[in-house]
Amino acid sequence: MAESQALRWIQLLLKCTIFLFMTAAAVSSRLFSVIRFESIIHEFDPWFNFRATKYLVNNGFYKFLNWFDDRTWYPLGRVTGGTLYPGLMATSAAVWHGLHKIGLPVDIRNVCVLFAPAFSGVTAWATYHLTCEIKDSGAGLLAAAFIAIAPGYISRSVAGSYDNEAIAITLLMVTFMFWIKAMKTGSIMHSTFAALFYFYMVSAWGGYVFITNLIPLHVFILILMGRYSTRLYSAYTTWYAIGTLASMQIPFVGFLPIRSNDHMAALGVFGLIQIVALGSFLKAQVSWQKFKTVMVVSLIFLLLAGVCGLFALTYFGYIAPWTGRFYSLWDTNYAKIHIPIIASVSEHQPTAWPAFFFDTQFLIWLFPAGVFLLFLDLKDEHIFIIAYSVLCSYFAGVMVRLMLTLTPIICVCAAVTISKLFDIYADFSFWSDKSLEPSDSSNKTKIMTLVTKLTVCGSFLGYLYLFVYHCTWVTSNAYSSPSVVLPSRNQDGSMALIDDFREAYYWLRMNSAEDAKVASWWDYGYQIGGMADRTTLVDNNTWNNTHIAIVGKAMSSPQEKAYEILRQHDVDYVLVIFGGLIGFSGDDINKFLWMVRISEGIWPDEIKEREYFTPSGEYRMDALASQTMKDSLMYKLSYYRFASLFNGIEGMDRVRGQKIRDEDVGNLDYFEEAFTSENWMVRLYKLKDLDPVGRELHSAGEFERKSARSQKKRIVKRPSLDLRV
């Protein structure tokens, strides 16, 4: 008795130690970016989240919920409080307040930067408990270790990547863990917890719809397989009732759960389970023959009524049809034709196979093995894992960003496989088996078995070892760049940082009027708002396609027309990103076609994509470029004065590998260059004021150029100033 007690303590101690190390590994592998660069918020969306968090900390929760932001989407503004998922900001604000309460005055920026790594530890813990329910604690520990370092999850949770997904994956796993527990035991407490964490998830990420559909799907499959039980009934009805009511408290979600097609599956299964419950009650009361007819007739009737009702309600507009983003998951051509703005985002591209291997290495082939092994047992909870695997494999194939939701389940299934393997081959108890009398032949048997087990364990330990190296390599090489600061190398190979973005944003912050309006392509809206604190026309929220198209139209029009459009919107500065000098390929010229396409969608008579190509259909910037291209504002702003860096006649664009002639770029009469960053990556132009004499700006420019040419250049001789000591 005492021995087993001691054993349990040792187990607990071991588990705690393992968890401690796992969390340390999870956190430290996410810190590459902080160590290499600095504690800085990454990318684009996190800048908005960071700005919102600062607002929340400074103004309190109620003001935050009612926040109307007049500094974006000028002149429309954005009802920010009602159109964001507040879970992330609320959590980090709570952490910040908590730290202050216990006397740790940490900066809110550091809370935000280190938020994702900290939550990855919680994800590992939740994955452990989920996998414990699927198999046992051995598999659980493996799964937790996998999720802690799998690059597929790290890609969205490195330090500084302060995005909704950072907390959402944690909540996803916690919700699923409680759901499995609830559905196994029928415990109302567990399903209430599942509902509460579902609510938390709804408040944090739009991807909550995945849970909304996956849990009903699980229940539906169980019912189809004839595995209905009262445990399932109490778990599902509790979860649905509490979860739905709670989720409707989020302003951005509101009445969607009863009015949108994305949520109808959950409602339908809720209805179905009531009928099934009634049916199973009746089955106990009447004879089997009678019951069969009643069941068949009523099932057909209900199914028809339900489907017809859904169609009718959608048709008459009581229920919103599928939202474009979700619809494009099923009909993969839909977005390309109807919503170019969704298709334009690089995260929404389909996934090629190397991405799967890159993000999960050898787990990707253990994953199908694990799914198959689960099929051999096929308990109720295994069906959940299988449904999750199939759905997410599809989603991850359609959209790169959904790799993120697939990674946890890959880790769970792979852990099940490895742990089953080790259950068999890491069991060395046969060595001390006394049942066989010692003899030559039994010794030979023992040695052969030992060799078998050792080779299996050895080779799989080797693969695990390689996996750790792979994960570290991927994390450090691919996922640890803040993309605000870019790493590069000097001539001698030492590390250099390209910090043009912050340089330009800081210039804007210090040198422009506080209410200056900046027009740029939407990608940089959040960064301008966050770092430069200036009003923007469009940003990454992309809620108003027309407004984005206006900016696109200005960029693709000739300068006098663009000037007019921008004037109408009170714009003071235009910002373009130009990578031609240092070879930064993610610049505005490469995104330019999307601007043309999006504005063509609104003004098909004025903007025509075809005109931006050369007659032979190429996308060129050099002398062969089409006249429309050379006239466009984007071309002029990007290449203005570019040739002066070279010989004054033509400059070499390193991204496109083409020579840009100065005569093609021409003069800027309506804009003046305000600032160009060190490596020319960010170029800022100010709109010229109207001419004081009332001339057209173009003719004023012509006049000045003519008079400058006729005048002799006045040579100013500088007075020689010596230092007077």
């Binding site: 034709i337 198959f372 099929f375 599809y394 393997l421 052969m448 190509f613």
Partner: protein, 348 residues
């Protein structure tokens, strides 16, 4: 007097033969060819030249397999679909408002019969889709861009361009129904239904068998994880050619975001072997050991069982190792600078 009349008649006849055809005659030409006019050395000047009232879309292509133009092959059915769709709605070639006429023509390169067409347009490489406005002479024309993504995307883009350029709105694409596949599906369904009826107990056993469902699910997962959706969305090329066209390329080297169709097949086979070897280690090896733990007479034979276990395990492990090293090697091709290799080939 008579002489002048005769001359004028002759001149008129000559003109009508050489100069362009009117819309009606073009429509007849189209009807004869069921949608697309085929251009030859003898007829192209008559059809495209002179005073035309119609817009013309001309496809210059070469589907001859010896030339090996894969884009031409891809474009062939797409162009046919577009011109057939137009012909279906507008047999006379006129748009609904009767203002604009549009006809499709095509020349598939053959040195003897239509080389002059290609020379006339100074085409050096195929395929080219040309667009001729009514006011334009045979020498001046525009080119229509061909997006690299095939299938419905490209067709939609071409139709969109045409709609814009001509100023018409009634141009719908009708995808032809593939009757072959429909009939095959119908036959297969019928056969399956028949078999199910005939062998009901077996069918029920199959339908409720965990292994069948498991294998099916796992196959789908493996396929999706090997980038199947990428191919079906992007319509990627099946395999590529080297620059000089001497050898077939199976992998797009150094491109992590892109792949050929054949890569999915190779990778899914690799994943399949790896996963099944692992499952075999877990499920099959213990089963085999148990099976051989007693010989035929029922006496225990532990040493034989252990030997078989050892042999099976080692062979599965070797298979795993070999295939996994192949996978890392292939991934090394795709991701330049990937430092890990399971097996280093001796330098050749």
């Amino acid at each position: 007097m008579k002489l002048t009349q005769l001359t004028s008649l002759l001149v008129f006849l000559y003109l009508s033969l050489t100069s362009a055809l009117s819309n009606g005659l073009l429509a007849k030409e189209v009807a004869k060819n069921k949608g697309t006019i085929t251009l030859t050395n003898s007829n192209y000047e008559r059809i495209l030249g002179g005073q035309r009232e119609a817009y013309m879309v001309v496809l210059l292509t070469s589907t001859n397999p010896s030339i090996g133009c894969s884009l031409c092959m891809e474009l062939e059915p797409e162009f046919a679909t577009i011109s057939d769709s137009w012909y279906k709605d507008h047999p006379s070639g006129l748009s609904a408002d009767g203002e604009h006429a549009l006809f499709f023509a095509k020349a598939d390169f053959e040195p003897k019969t239509n080389n002059e067409v290609f020379m006339n347009f100074k085409v050096n490489n195929v395929p080219r889709v040309l667009f001729l406005s009514p006011d334009q002479d045979i020498g001046t024309f525009n080119q229509i861009n061909l997006p690299s993504e095939g299938g419905i995307t490209r067709m939609a883009a071409i139709v969109h361009t045409l709609k814009d350029a001509i100023g018409i709105s009634d141009f719908e694409i009708y995808q032809p129904i593939n009757w072959g596949s429909v009939s095959i599906t119908a036959m297969a369904t019928f056969l399956v239904a028949l078999l199910v009826r005939q062998y009901k107990p077996i069918a029920i056993k199959m339908l409720t068998s965990k292994t069948v469902w498991g294998l099916g699910t796992v196959a789908i997962i493996v396929l999706w994880n090997a980038g199947y959706m990428f191919n079906s969305i992007r319509g990627s090329q099946f395999a590529g050619m080297t620059q000089d066209g001497s050898a077939v390329v199976y992998f797009l080297e150094g491109q992590q975001q892109n792949q050929f169709g054949v890569e999915t097949q190779i990778i899914s086979v690799i994943y399949g072997i790896l996963a099944s070897s692992t499952v075999a280690l877990i499920a099959f090896v213990p089963y085999a050991k148990k099976f051989y733990s007693h010989d035929k007479a029922g006496r225990p034979s532990p040493s034989k069982a252990s030997l078989i276990e050892l042999a099976l395990t080692v062979s599965f492990l070797v298979a795993l190792y070999v295939v996994y090293s192949a996978l890392t090697a292939v991934f090394g091709l795709k991701s330049s600078g990937y430092p890990f290799k399971l097996f280093r080939f001796p330098s050749i």
